[in-house]
């Protein structure tokens, strides 16, 4: 968007400029109301998490609980120790890392021929991949758990990961990136005797870094936050559950210690929030790309 600054017109009557100012104030008031709606739960959770509970405060003592008198990091330490949160943090990291790496590899491999080669069946395969976007898969989770059971992968991190790594979104995104690489570059590499795998890893991937990063970040946040699927696959192996699943168990166990729950929840949110703040642009751009 071009930042066209409108020339300030001197002759504008006062009433009109007043009206304009009023409209501006109104806009910010509305924006602030929406802001409170969007972030209030976080602010409150944060306030609870850093409240020193030894002072005997109740989280439901408004508005006092929104402005803790004594601040502490004890809740974080306590929940980390008593609930073995480290174990669940590790599970989350393991599941997320496997998923991100798997998604990037499978998507890049599939996208390369779809973007760069003509071969019999290409259009059909492309259509099949597109179809996964619109087919309603209300029963897939049932059959997939049965399949994982037969493969002996139920209750393992691999079982959570494998069914999720091949997806139309990743293949599309990488195909789009590969289409943008100049053909001359590939032909030069082929003349130098480079194999297709070398071309993919030494030319295509380095030139598609922004798309790889975007896909990686999307996958990371989605996997870190996923609840239903890991809960289902790991229902018989509670020790292998990721944070997103464990946090709700935490709620069941420490129902009367909301301070620890708040602290545990924030530990879970923190990585995603940091990634989001650092890579905000990718998110917005990636989403916008879906419309254009």
């Amino acid at each position: 968007m071009s930042a066209v600054t409108r020339p300030i017109v001197q002759t504008v009557p006062h009433r009109r400029s007043n009206k304009k100012a009023l409209r501006l104030v109104l806009r910010y008031v509305m924006l602030t109301v929406v802001l409170i709606f969007a972030v209030f739960p976080f602010v409150w959770t944060f306030a609870i998490a850093i409240t020193d509970k030894r002072a005997g405060t109740s989280i439901y003592d408004f508005p006092a609980s929104l402005f803790p008198k004594a601040v502490t990091l004890n809740n974080f330490l306590e929940v980390y120790r008593t609930f073995e949160l480290g174990k669940y943090v590790w599970n989350s990291i393991s599941i997320t890392a496997l998923t991100v790496v798997g998604t990037l590899i499978v998507s890049a491999l599939a996208a390369y021929p779809l973007a760069r080669f003509r071969f019999p069946g290409r259009n059909i395969i492309f259509a099949i991949i597109v179809a996964t976007l619109v087919l309603p898969g209300e029963t897939t989770f049932i059959v997939n758990t049965l399949t994982l059971k037969n493969m002996g992968l139920l209750g393992t991190h691999l079982g959570v990961v494998i069914p999720t790594i091949a997806g139309a979104f990743g293949i599309f995104l990488m195909r789009q990136a590969f289409l943008g690489v100049p053909t001359a570059l590939l032909e030069a590499a082929r003349l130098d005797g480079a194999g297709e795998m070398t071309i993919l890893t030494r030319i295509m991937l380095p030139l598609s870094k922004p798309s790889l990063a975007a896909l990686g970040i999307f996958t990371l946040v989605g996997t870190w936050n996923a609840y239903f699927w890991p809960m289902l696959v790991l229902s018989a192996a509670p020790d292998k559950a990721p944070l997103s699943v464990a946090v709700l168990r935490l709620k069941g166990q420490f129902n009367y210690d909301p301070f620890n729950i708040a602290a545990g929840s924030l530990i879970m949110m923190l990585p995603v929030l940091l990634v989001f703040l650092a890579a905000q642009r990718y998110f917005m751009k990636g989403m916008e790309g879906a419309v254009k």
Binding site: W44, P113, A166, E196
Partner: protein, 313 residues
């Protein structure tokens, strides 16, 4: 592509090189195998299971599926819980127009080069990247009888009947769950609308301003018509998402109180995995019903927008 280039492109089948074809399939193999195993096979086998009696033990150990025709569907439509859940899922669609209008309005609000706009946009997107488990923890405190929602409403003298446990009331739980869906969704659609808004030529707006059109008129006569493709996409996505609501219900109310928040996918999930029935056949049949409704709604969405905009290319 110029004509000279086009004539160089091989068109006939014999022009495909074996080497390229083999290589292409080798590269595609991981994705195709995974998609077949975990997307297409479950779609086909799950549909088949809908017509069988299968389950009874966890993961169907023991008896193989037995074909019983449409028996499961008869059972479903005689089951008051299924009818309630289907009804709730349809009722849940109320969120779609509200969510879409609000997201569009918020997008219009932040679509201006004013100080602080990038901050507001990012902040509104934060609920989208929030895990449902975290949302459940936070919103339960907000909805608690002693929670902030009651405090705010009380302060505004909007609680004539006294404090309400929003998630525990048969009449309020459904709307409380929906508000969480709304909260997690509006930032997502806002970004999509924002992309659409930035595609509207500025001259159009400026000309309308010169002609003396009010902001309201400009919104309805320029923004909305220009945004039609985006609105179609968003309402389609949002309709399907509303019909498939499961996680919010699962973590906030588990279908209660008195099944008032029980949705169709909740029914599918609980028939297959909750309790000791493990009725995969019946659950698959219920899933099929939801899938058919989802498809029908998608088609309806397309029809609706195409018919109201016949001159679209």
């Amino acid at each position: 592509m110029t004509r000279a280039q086009r004539t160089q492109t091989p068109r006939t089948r014999s022009d495909f090189s074996w080497r390229d074809t083999l290589m292409s399939y080798a590269f595609l193999a991981p994705a195709l195998i995974l998609l077949t195993l975990f997307t297409f096979y479950p779609l086909a086998y799950g549909s088949y299971l809908g017509f069988t009696e299968y389950g009874g033990a966890r993961f169907g150990q023991g008896l193989p599926p037995k074909w019983i025709g449409i028996e499961n569907f008869r059972t479903l439509f005689a089951d008051p819980l299924f009818l309630t859940s289907l009804g709730n899922s349809v009722k849940y669609l109320v969120v779609v127009p509200v969510l879409q209008l609000a997201s569009l309005a918020v997008a219009v609000l932040v679509n201006k080069n004013l100080p602080g706009m990038p901050f507001f946009r990012a902040a509104y997107y934060v609920p989208v990247v929030t895990s449902i488990s975290l949302a459940a923890v936070m919103w339960e405190w907000v909805y608690n009888k002693d929670g902030t929602l009651n405090w705010v409403l009380g302060a505004l003298h909007l609680l004539p009947g006294g404090a309400v446990g929003w998630l525990n009331g048969e009449s309020t739980a459904f709307w409380a769950v929906m508000l969480v869906t709304f909260w997690r969704g509006f930032g997502y659609y806002m970004v999509l609308y924002l992309a659409g808004l930035q595609g509207i030529p500025e001259e159009l707006e400026e000309a309308a301003v010169l002609d003396g059109a009010s902001a309201w008129q400009r919104f309805w006569q320029i923004t909305v018509p220009m945004m039609k493709p985006t609105i179609l996409l968003c309402s389609l996505l949002s309709t399907i998402a509303a019909l498939r609501v499961l996680e919010e219900v699962l973590v906030l109310t588990n279908g209660g109180p008195l099944n008032s928040t029980y949705t169709a996918l909740m029914y599918v999930y609980s028939k297959a995995f909750q309790g000791f029935n493990f009725d995969y056949g019946l659950a698959s049949a219920a899933g099929l019903v939801v899938a058919v409704v989802a498809l029908a709604l998608s088609v309806a969405n397309f029809r609706l927008f195409r018919d109201s905009d016949g001159d679209d290319k």
